[in-house]
Amino acid sequence: MSEGWLALLQQAFRLLLSFDPDVWSIINVSFSVSFAALFITLIPSIMLGFFLAFTHFPGRWIVTNLIQTLQSIPTVVIGLLVYLLLTRNGAMGDLKWLFSQNGMIFGQMLICAPVLVALSQAAFASVDRRAWETSRTLGANWLMAIWTVCRELRVALLLAIVAAFSRILTEVGCSMMVGGNIMNVTRNIPTAIALETSKGDFAQAIALGLVLLILALVLNFALGSLRGKALPRSH
């Protein structure tokens, strides 16, 4: 049994290190789609998080609760919603994004945004208000003051970004439904792992799983080091 596992691991490493075109195409799709979704949603989501934390308007708690609810919606439900929107007779059917990377990016944006908004809102709510006040009173315009506050919160915001990225990189439901798991087009790491496992081809599934594991390790160590540098501040 253990020899079988060892052989599978060896095979998985061989696939990765020999730059197997199929495996690396899947990795490429995964990262390009998820980075695009993160890139598009990043600034608007952080701005919305800031707005929700720093302003008071009627119904703010409804918006906050709504975003927190969206965070916990299963990705397969979001996949279903996006599928219905992108299907030929759907509201966005004319875009012809179903079973394309654009459709996957759109779906992942809907998954990523609530995580980013909720976590950045929590970060902004925890910041010392004097940071904003000092920046503004020293003559910074609102954009520069937001940048200053973001700089003060860089570790918390990086954590939010990593959490959002992890969620979209590892989600299966939406990518499977909207992307359709088409090789070299929409097959990403999670959908490929699901497919290869169902086929009994564990080597490729393990190789792809290793990529996610290595990424998780690198990100966690990098964040741990950042957290260590951001010592508690005395005011």
Binding site: D128, R130, A131, E133, T134, S135, R136, T137, L138, G139, A140, N141, M144, T148, R151, E152, A230, L231, R233, S234, H235
Partner: protein, 248 residues
């Protein structure tokens, strides 16, 4: 709040029919307050009387419950910028906030908000470093500074910006005599340059001796007078004495 601009007019912040309350609790009210460039005002009041809130109001950081606050004599904002009180009168917190970074980063923060960094500003930066005696600490993290050094850094940071109006909230509280001397020198320099100063304190201090006007928050009303009460400055004289170092 609104902004009106008149050329050759002294910079001023004016509050009329001012009322500040939190829920049902009235903090203070005032019919008219005028803080003009060149004025040096001592703001007196007990703890919790609303001194910091008044300063934040005049700085545009918060809005009054009733009444309006306008500024005059400041440069007109660009067409795409909203007219705002913010950034007109600089407000210094009682416990100043220092940004995460080095002492130098904090000192130059105000300069980074300016469109151009002239030679004169660079010279002023060097002057501030000398006056606040921060030369040896420039590359240190601001979070490593002692209470007095933090206060000196915060005042130097505002000093560099050469504000037309500066509000200091208990600026030399919990400061040793050496730091007090340095801060007093910087503030006196600003006074000589014509900066309007609003200095709050619930006790007499060396700075109150500089003041020519008196605002007193008492019984939820802000009383203003041109006369500064005879304050006990014995303690302060030991700090001030002949120690003003007026940098040139």
């Amino acid at each position: 709040m609104s902004l009106s601009v008149a050329p050759q007019m002294k910079a001023a912040v004016e509050a009329t029919d001012l009322v500040m309350q939190f829920d049902d609790r009235r903090l203070f009210s005032a019919q008219k307050l005028r803080f003009v460039e060149g004025d040096v005002i001592y703001l007196q009041g007990d703890n919790g009387s609303g001194k910091s809130t008044l300063m934040k109001l005049l700085a545009g950081l918060i809005s009054p419950s009733h009444g309006r606050v306008i500024c005059q004599g400041f440069s007109q904002p660009a067409w795409w910028q909203a007219a705002s009180l913010l950034g007109k009168a600089v407000y210094l917190h009682q416990h100043p906030y220092l940004f995460d970074g080095t002492v130098k980063y904090n000192l130059t923060y105000g300069l980074s908000t300016r469109k151009s960094r002239t030679k004169a500003l660079q010279q002023r930066l060097e002057q501030a470093i000398n006056m606040a005696q921060l030369a040896d600490l420039l590359q240190h993290s601001a979070s490593d500074l002692s209470g007095g050094e933090r206060q000196r850094l915060a005042i130097a940071r505002a000093w560099i910006c050469q504000p037309k109006l500066l509000m200091l909230d208990e600026p030399i509280s919990n400061m040793d005599k050496h730091s007090q001397k340095l801060v007093l020198a910087m503030i006196n320099q600003l006074k000589m340059e014509g900066t309007g100063l609003l200095i709050s304190s619930h006790q007499t201090c060396g700075l109150t001796a500089l003041c020519q006007q008196h605002w007193h928050i008492k019984d939820q009303i802000i009383h203003t007078s041109q006369h500064v009460p005879n304050l006990d400055t014995q303690q302060d004289n030991s700090v001030m004495g002949s120690h003003y170092v007026i940098a040139k």
